[in-house]
């Protein structure tokens, strides 16, 4: 039975990491084997290709969501071309059946897929910045993809797919989605460019009613789990031959290289496409993709700002000003992994005031001083996204004074758009930001920083 101290918006409380982890370095003996390897020794000189091919590749940071039969191969291939960064996310472990479609050996069974892919990528390309996250993408922070230049979606989990494509739209990141449909021997890759406004197509734009029904039926939450838990992964596995998964992965890598190296001759700028290989006749077709105006995904990009030293040093009024909103009544503020509670409930007739941000999953400190009963966040007065009006009286207190830690990131939404505000000194991701020497407020960090020149 759940503990009575559980909050209204509890997040998973497992001791799982909450953001990217640096991939482990390979054993010294392995590193020694490839020390001094010329990374360009096998790279072709492309006809009309860019002169700065290596620089473009090393400037590229690709988040690969899903490290299964397709994602593992994508990671492998990108490591071999010397890509600058690989961020790999997958919540599952390999299992015996994985041998049938994944590029793994029997001694790699029951290993977190994300770790497995990250370890191999780091061994193949030690200079590549490799991170991994062995959990569900939906449980990552709002700014998890800030700093990536491209996102490769290679998951068969529809809930994750929707979450990733939404995050990409918001952060203005180009997406590639690699998938297979086994019965028709089809491998397909969707290329979804970012237009900076979020007006282009997303992966969900192509969903049929059947896909949305699958999303509903395949998304299961445990009844005694946290109220805001990520769903349990569905048991549905990719039904395909290994070679079809490999074709999909390599087509996706090819599409990425076309974009990175400006080889996409004939592509209409800003227009998405789906490239399909059919195993029955062995041919490929390319079809343009357009946005579906009925798509329920919010097609609106956020601005991204980094602040120093930390978001927690700012007041709500500062946040509104940074986001370009002076009237806080017309904005809402969301602090990632926190909720704002103005009141608690206990045994008293009147509700006790709290007026603090509260870390999700954490118990409230101490019982009610009046009635002695344990306090819980009152459902009516607890906001995951707090309206500016509910912060009246707290506008000039810093987030730290209101209970927010230094690593938090904040989303401010208002009539003139949404702004994600994050601390420049955030662990791991900060290393990328530091290379760009962000000013106190850089309102276009993600797009300017990562776009290959």
């Amino acid at each position: 039975m759940p503990e009575s101290s559980r909050s209204l918006f509890e997040e998973p409380t497992a001791a799982s990491p909450v953001s990217w982890i640096e991939a482990p370095a390979p054993p010294p003996a392995i590193s020694a084997l490839i020390e001094g390897l010329d990374r360009g020794a096998r790279q072709p000189k492309l006809i009309d290709g860019p002169a700065d091919m290596a620089a473009r590749l090393s400037a590229c940071r690709v988040a690969v969501i899903g490290a299964g039969s397709i994602g593992q191969r994508v990671v492998d291939s990108l490591a071999r071309v010397g890509i600058g960064g690989l961020w790999i996310c997958d919540p599952r472990n390999t299992k015996p059946e994985s041998l049938l479609t994944h590029p793994i050996s029997p001694d790699e069974i029951d290993v977190p897929k994300a770790l497995l892919a990250a370890r191999r990528a780091r061994a193949i390309s030690p200079q590549t910045e490799v991170r991994y996250f062995p959990g569900a993408f939906e449980s990552m922070p709002m700014d998890a993809l800030v700093g990536a230049s491209h996102v490769m979606i290679a998951t068969d989990n529809l809930a994750a797919e929707v979450g990733v494509t939404q995050a990409c739209i918001r952060l203005g990141l180009p997406q590639l989605q690699a998938a297979v449909y086994g019965p028709a021997l089809v491998a397909q890759v969707r290329s979804l460019p970012a237009d900076g406004q979020g007006a282009g197509p997303c992966t969900a734009c192509g969903y049929l009613k059947r896909d949305w029904d699958d999303l509903d039926e395949g998304t299961r939450f445990s009844c005694d789990g946290p109220a805001d838990a990520v769903p349990a992964p569905t048991a549905r596995a990719t039904m395909s031959f290994a070679h079809l998964c490999a074709i999909s992965a390599e087509l996706a890598v090819g599409e990425l290289l076309r974009q990175l190296l400006a080889l996409n001759v004939g592509d209409e700028p800003g227009v998405g496409s789906v490239l399909e290989f059919c195993g029955f006749h062995g041919g490929t077709t390319r079809t343009p993709l357009v946005r579906n105006l009925e798509c329920p995904i919010e097609h609106q990009s956020w601005s991204v700002c980094s602040v120093e030293p930390s978001v927690a040093a700012l007041t709500a009024r500062d946040l509104g000003r940074i986001a370009g909103h002076d009237d806080l009544r017309e904005v809402s503020i969301r602090v990632d992994r926190y909720c704002f509670a103005s009141h608690t409930a206990c045994g008293c007739e009147t509700h006790g005031a709290l007026d603090r941000f509260h870390a999700e999953g954490m118990p409230l400190p101490g019982p009610c001083p009046r009635c002695g009963a344990e306090r819980v966040l009152h459902p009516l007065y607890t906001y995951r996204e707090v309206p500016g009006g509910a912060l009246a009286g707290q506008l000039d207190r810093t987030l730290a004074e209101l209970g927010v830690s230094a690593e938090a990131c904040v989303l401010v939404r208002g009539p003139r758009g949404s702004t994600l505000i994050r601390s420049a000194a955030k662990p791991v991701i900060a290393r990328i930001a530091l290379s760009a020497k962000p000013p106190l407020v850089d309102s276009s960090e993600s797009r300017q920083e990562v776009t290959p020149q």
Binding site: S4, D216, C223, P231, E298, E330, S332, H378, E385
Partner: protein, 240 residues
């Protein structure tokens, strides 16, 4: 900031109900086109001016709030105590004439409360995917609810509506589902259910006392006079 819509019976101009008035009332199928009474319409309009978020979400909140208010106009048992559309749509609703099983610590049989006060949260996330069944509904009153899908002993515990609440599930349907769940008309007593139960002891108890459920067979739009409590005859006690 927030408001409490009015039930038609509280509006001076509305006609009074008689015993068979239910036959003349619109049904659930009429809700999308049911006009709101003037006071409720103006309350909704005012709430919508404070609504925050992207246009699609603000539009959806208006539709859901309208559906809930319309439901309260045709359902005597439903009273909306509070409505807030600023970020998540939050409603505090009272379900009157609704038997809810409660068991105080140390008791061996349940008592029936005569209603419930629920906090309902309708989050923006439901637009793009299913949400956990434990997310939307919290039971503010009564306390000590003895129910397989309500955690026992918590303050403002969640009422689990199932393994998920499907994408786009209407707010008014959440209220109807909560009524069915609280009155044990539609609920899982299987502790081995993959979705799990929040009170395994209650699940076992109801499995062993299957004749006591449901607590009433009166539908949501049914009348107080028609209510027949199968399990709680002689035990009904308003514990709020």
């Amino acid at each position: 900031m927030s408001a409490s819509p009015t039930h038609p019976s509280e509006e001076p101009s509305s006609s009074s109900r008689s015993g068979d008035a239910a036959a003349r009332l619109p049904g659930l199928a009429d809700l999308p086109t049911l006009p709101l009474i003037s006071q409720n319409q103006s309350t909704l309009d005012r709430l919508c001016t404070e609504s925050l978020g992207p246009p699609s979400w603000r539009h959806r909140k208006r539709i859901e709030a309208q559906g809930l208010i319309a439901l309260s106009q045709i359902a005597p048992r439903l009273v909306i105590r509070h409505l807030d559309l600023r970020t998540d749509l939050v409603a505090i609703v009272e379900l009157r004439d609704t038997p809810v099983p409660c068991m105080r610590p140390g008791q061996s049989d349940f008592e029936l409360a005569d209603g419930a006060l629920l906090a309902i949260r309708y989050p923006e996330a439901i637009l793009v995917g299913p949400i956990p069944g434990t997310l939307p509904v919290r039971v503010l009153e009564p306390r000590d609810v003895f129910h397989s899908n309500v955690a026992y002993g918590e303050r403002a515990p969640a009422l689990c509506l199932g393994a998920n609440v499907p994408r786009g599930f209407p707010l008014r349907e959440i209220v109807l589902t909560a009524y069915g769940a609280l009155t044990l008309q539609a609920i899982s007593f299987d502790a081995l259910d993959p979705a799990g139960v929040l009170n395994p002891q209650a699940a076992s108890w109801y499995q062993a006392n299957a004749a006591r459920v449901p607590l009433t067979d009166v539908p949501f739009l049914g009348w107080r006079e028609a209510a027949s409590s199968r399990a709680g005859a002689g035990q009904g006690e308003d514990r709020r």
